[in-house]
């Protein structure tokens, strides 16, 4: 079964290092930084190329700073993407 490829972008400067996305990622794609951001927190980074774009991380992120991307296939999005978004 071909794995669905996904990707996330995290606004690391707004991350508070709560670790919840890391814990919630079923693919163990994320991990916490060693260094601190400007606000003094460690931050989440996409470290492994295993992301399927399942959105779990984004769903549990209290800061709403994760944007999730996925390969072409239609998914049941949690919320509709605004129109006019590029592919």
């Amino acid at each position: 079964m071909a794995k669905i490829r996904g990707h996330v972008i995290i606004k690391t400067e707004e991350c508070k290092g709560c670790d919840l996305c890391v814990i919630e990622c079923p693919q163990d794609s994320l991990e916490m930084s060693k260094s601190l951001n400007q606000k003094g927190y460690t931050f989440s980074i996409l470290s492994y190329d295993t992301c399927t774009g399942c959105t779990n991380c984004a769903l549990v992120c209290p800061e709403a700073i994760i944007t999730v991307y996925r390969e072409g296939k239609k998914v049941k999005a949690t919320r509709p993407i605004s129109k006019g978004q590029s592919v």
């Binding site: 707004e14 774009g53 769903l59 549990v60 209290p62 709403a64 996925r70 919320r79 993407i81 590029s86």
Partner: protein, 262 residues
């Protein structure tokens, strides 16, 4: 993966999840891992998806979420401690077409605001109450709330809540469900992706009832965390919810509309 490759990868993908435009583009002031941020997002997603931003009014409480209007980009009133439902009644009675929700903590809703909560629901005032039950007074530094579990240590129950002296954790949603004015009452969580999906559905459903003018008050209780007040890491706090809290505050619908009328 270099920046270059990243960009290419993204180019070829669909954005399947982005931050709703109805959240202000500003960082929140909540502690790391706090559930308030998640619930804020869910409500705004629902309002956006339902397309009612132009008539939605939020009522922020006194509690950690007092500044909710800095995050929720909808018209908002910040109500006095415990009086969010009274404030909502005032609006909804004069302007029944508005979509109104209150956002309240457990101190706000179930301690000082008990009377206002019960009577708003008893009148069946047609708005949504989003009730964040984190079993503590977050904002003021972690004092015991009416919803604090037996034995739990807080800054005013330093040896753990002693039910003989301090009373029992109160399940206010169950009490409210006794009232005919309650239309839809459900208890949700946001400590896992699965829970978040469910909670979102519940919030959206409740707002839809209001849009449809269905009779009565809706309440979505979110049993949430307070890592700071509980003196836990976010991870520990979420696990504690699973391990201890949901035993007492069981998740699921407590009262559903008589029948799902169409």
């Amino acid at each position: 993966m270099s920046e270059k490759i990243k960009d290419n990868v993204i180019e070829s993908m669909k954005e399947v999840w982005e931050r709703t435009k109805l959240l202000h583009d500003a960082p929140n002031h909540y502690c790391p891992g706090c559930g308030h941020g998640v619930v804020h997002r869910l409500i705004m997603e629902a309002v956006e998806e339902l397309g009612v931003m132009d008539r939605t009014i939020a009522i922020a409480p006194v509690g950690c979420s007092v500044l909710a209007y800095n995050y929720l980009n909808v018209d908002t009133q910040q109500a006095a401690h415990g009086r969010a439902t009274a404030c909502a009644t005032g609006i909804k009675r004069v302007f029944p077409d508005k979509i109104v929700f209150t956002y309240q903590g457990d101190g706000d809703l179930a301690a000082i605001g008990t009377g206002e909560t019960i009577h708003a629901v008893n009148r069946g005032d047609k708005f949504l109450i989003v009730f964040i039950n984190n079993g503590i007074y977050g904002m003021t530094g972690g004092q015991m709330a009416p919803t604090t579990l037996e034995g739990a240590k807080t800054s005013t129950s330093p040896d753990g809540r002693d039910v003989d002296l301090m009373g029992h954790a109160i399940r206010i949603a169950e009490m409210l469900a006794l009232l005919p004015g309650a239309y839809y009452i459900t208890r949700q969580a946001v400590n896992s992706a699965k829970a978040v999906r469910k909670a979102k559905k519940a919030i959206k459903k409740a707002l839809q009832y209001q849009i449809d003018g269905k009779g009565g008050t809706c309440l979505v209780e979110v049993v949430s965390n307070c890592p700071s007040g509980w003196k836990m890491t976010p991870e520990e706090s979420n696990k504690y919810l699973d391990d201890e809290v949901f035993d007492f505050y069981q998740l699921g619908d407590i009262k559903v509309p008589p029948k799902e009328e169409k």
